[in-house]
Point group: C2
Chain length 509, copies 2
């Protein structure tokens, strides 16, 4: 080959046609890149050009400057002197001497085995902004406003997160992983998790599926985003959504370029005749526990929807909180009835924690390849470790145990909320209490804006969603009240705050 | 309120205007949902309608059917009899009797504290397909083909993944997390990780940034996807890419709807005059270690690029393997020179493991809000636990220690590959050996297709990328050879296989 063995790093050539080169470069803005050049990633130090007699002071100067301008923040560790000396190809004594000089001015201190740590006060820094995170809309902004008591819907009892079981499962996963498992994974999801999800859905949701139909996703939000992308590519530009229905889901679809078409929900669920009349070729719905009303899609509507889907309609089933039910028998998933036309989405956000960003999507054959491709392009697949941990929790029965545990807690909290509403919000009509993690209440005769009510409560430190957020067609004011995440005391206090706010707004307080 | 206390779950109403309902429903396809209905999520069992005398056999039948049709796979656990009895509101004896009946036929067995487990052989199931994952293209397909020795570029030494340090950091993270941390997080990324990334980039890449400019992403692939989306929304439809350059990055941008415009790379890096001539308003490049040639963008080109960006060009810097260098001083990031015009992307894929799907994107103010919004809509933000674990590893110095460790290993493997090439592929010219995780070799005079060479080696169980995959303009054949992930023995054997394949294809074997 054309490389000289004496010069192991110079492989630069000019290939005919498309000229490509090695690492050779000599111009000013680029550090020396000749073979044997000594430098450190740490502060991009390049001591090569510094005369031998000035190197200690040069190094100390660089460290002082980095501390002064905040590059090295208080608490930062300097590299071990042995390591930095090797990287700069200088004596270790030179480095320790430089460290000593800045230690004398109190900027760094030796911390024994903790190494040498920056201790001088940094230049004043602005406090982290209390503003809501950027780029989000209404819901994100409300989420970010700090509050004392959070009755927002959609969050389970987070104090119950099975930290020990999670860590134990992760220890086993880490012990069993092969090095190849740490590489680029299957964008469709880890086979072990797809198998475990199939078992979970068979046991708990009456769904038969093949692991090849499962796509592991970063929650239902991503599932909707992926489906919107794929449906649009398939020529579907309009998707029907429930009214009232989830604002977040609607925004998600619209961001993906879909037009959403509201279809009314009544006491039997989505009005399928209205869906048919809308001309939409796809529909997103929450048949087991409609969000936010809590209504169950009834048998006749299911049959009508089945007929609509058989004629070419695409059904997207968001089974967002199906595992949580208290006073009623389980409701089978639509997916169990017509697998070839239903895209089914679920996640662990309501089972374990939203912070895990982990869910699943069952995709009929027609759209499967496109969804996997979209997932691959979106992020190359979900992180692998958490997938395998969840698979273990599903297969060991740990997740079912956890579900039974939180269900008892959630039921007690729901009952506490019902009692508090009875006492503090006697005007309220309660909907959908038999399942889920939230109630909907409406105020039929009240002349009050529910957004004003929510704002008044937030001023008193209590947060919930105004129903109007989740309505497209106007209707009576109301609230969506999550009961799963707070203690019974918080629930009681929060509902009392809403009661006081309502009385004040209605002029009866 | 309008609910009766005696009937705590019936809150159905008809609200004026938009009729919404509770959980009431009586039609056939929906299970009974009256208050007090007894059913279990497990197999969707609803024992209510079954006559008292037939319930044990009915339950045993349902279990047999679920085992026979595979709903309950071998290894599945039945719920504890106490739990199932409570859910069905039957005696525990009824459930244990049903379990006993199917145990007698050998379908389930008691496993002490492990519960009752399905042990009968399931119906025959097709083996998992050996086919490549669906939905991917050329590279994905090649990735999925099994091989004995994988010299694909872009993967670090995965045997070195710091399992113990990761688990210890995760234990601390889990111990310290508040319940609220398990909820929906900030789509921009956990503040602790954004702070840690800022410190890491300051110490190791010479970059000054504010945590508010950092967006945590699922790797550089997602970063490119997000940027493509945002740039398109900003009216930028064409983005220049390096030629040769990463096929994966190009596909990523094209999937996001961008048109890619090839701009040639020579011995000084990207040809900025050609970029200017292309009319593209944005460019993706790998200035510190060009993929795949390994060339460093030199000082004059940097100044030219700076001028181009100052006139409104958007620079996307993929700093994909900047931490890995062996015989040269560190190369500063472009971002450090012109922060207001450079979107800077990096990840832990080459530092720790691609399976973590975790990286960062620094975004100039002009596009920051749009990128955060796109990230929020894509997946609501990265999973939180892994973000906090990485923050700990960065702040404790553990990640720097790991980098020093793998750098020594990678250097030894690179040297082994250079020796093997010298011995087995004397025709090859080597490029870009001073840094990174791969070499590029070209065969100037060889009359051989590099795709044929890669295919011939793959037949012998050895995988690498043909250079032509990463070229847009044709040029001499070549290979991209990753040396970081394999042992020295694998490297030697893999290069020998390429040597034999080349001799055979060239008719000299």
């Amino acid at each position: 080959m054309s490389r000289s063995k004496d010069d192991p790093v110079q492989g630069s050539i000019n290939a005919g046609g498309s000229a490509v080169g090695g690492s050779g470069s000599t111009s000013a803005a680029t550090p020396r890149s000749a073979a044997g050049s000594a430098g450190s990633d740490f502060l991009q130090l390049d001591i090569g050009p510094v005369p031998a007699g000035g190197r200690t002071e040069w190094l100390a100067d660089r460290l002082r400057a980095a501390i002064a301008d905040g590059t090295l923040a208080v608490g930062s560790r300097l590299p071990p002197s042995r390591v930095l000396a090797a990287e700069l190809r200088v004596s270790r004594g030179l480095v320790t001497e430089a460290y000593q000089r800045i230690a004398e001015t109190g900027q760094v201190a030796g911390r024994g085995r903790g190494g040498t740590v920056v201790v001088a006060a940094p230049p004043p820094v602005a406090p982290p902004p209390a503003a809501p995170p950027r780029g989000g809309g209404l819901v994100d902004a409300l989420r970010a406003v700090p509050c004392r008591i959070d009755l927002s819907p959609g969050v389970p009892d987070l104090t119950a997160f099975p930290r020990t079981a999670w860590l134990q499962a992760e220890r086993r996963v880490l012990a069993d992983l092969t090095p190849a498992d740490f590489g680029y994974g299957n964008p469709q999801g880890a086979p072990a998790l797809r198998e475990a999800v199939v078992g979970w859905l068979a046991r708990n949701r009456g769904i038969r599926a093949d692991p090849g139909e499962v796509v592991v996703v970063a929650g239902v939000a991503q599932a909707l985003w992926l489906l919107g992308y794929v449906l649009r590519a398939d020529g579907v530009r309009r998707i029907a959504v429930e009214d009232p229905g989830s604002l977040g889901a609607r925004r998600q679809l619209e961001y993906g370029g879909m037009e959403t078409v509201p279809v009314r929900v009544d006491g039997a669920g989505l009005d399928v005749a209205a869906l048919r009349a809308s001309g939409a070729r796809a529909v997103l719905l929450t048949p087991a526990h409609q969000f936010p009303t809590g209504v169950v899609l009834d048998g006749e509507r299911r049959r009508e929807l089945l007929g609509w889907a058989a004629a070419g309609g695409v059904v997207v089933e968001d089974d967002y909180d199906a595992e949580h039910r208290y006073d009623r028998a389980p409701v089978p998933a639509l997916r169990a009835l017509l697998p070839e036309a239903v895209c089914y989405a679920g996640s662990v956000s309501k089972l374990l924690a939203p912070a895990l960003r982990l869910g699943w999507l069952l995709v009929p054959p027609r759209h499967l390849d496109a969804v996997i491709a979209a997932k691959g392009h979106a992020d190359l697949g979900n992180p692998v470790l958490a997938q395998l941990v969840l698979a273990r929790l599903m297969e060991s029965g740990e997740l079912e145990r956890h579900l039974r545990f939180v269900r008892r807690r959630h039921r007690a909290r729901r009952d506490a909320m019902l009692r508090a509403i009875s006492a503090e919000l006697p005007e309220a009509r309660v909907h959908g209490a038999a399942a889920g993690l939230h109630l909907m209440v409406t105020f039929e005769g009240a002349h009050v804006e529910d957004t004003a009510l929510a704002a008044a409560a937030l001023e008193r430190g209590v947060k919930a969603h105004p129903l109007s957020w989740h309505r497209i067609t106007p209707g009576p004011p109301g609230l969506i009240l999550g009961y799963a995440a707070g203690s019974q005391g918080e629930i009681e206090e929060g509902i009392a705050v809403f009661g006081a706010a309502l009385r004040q707004l209605a002029g009866t307080g």
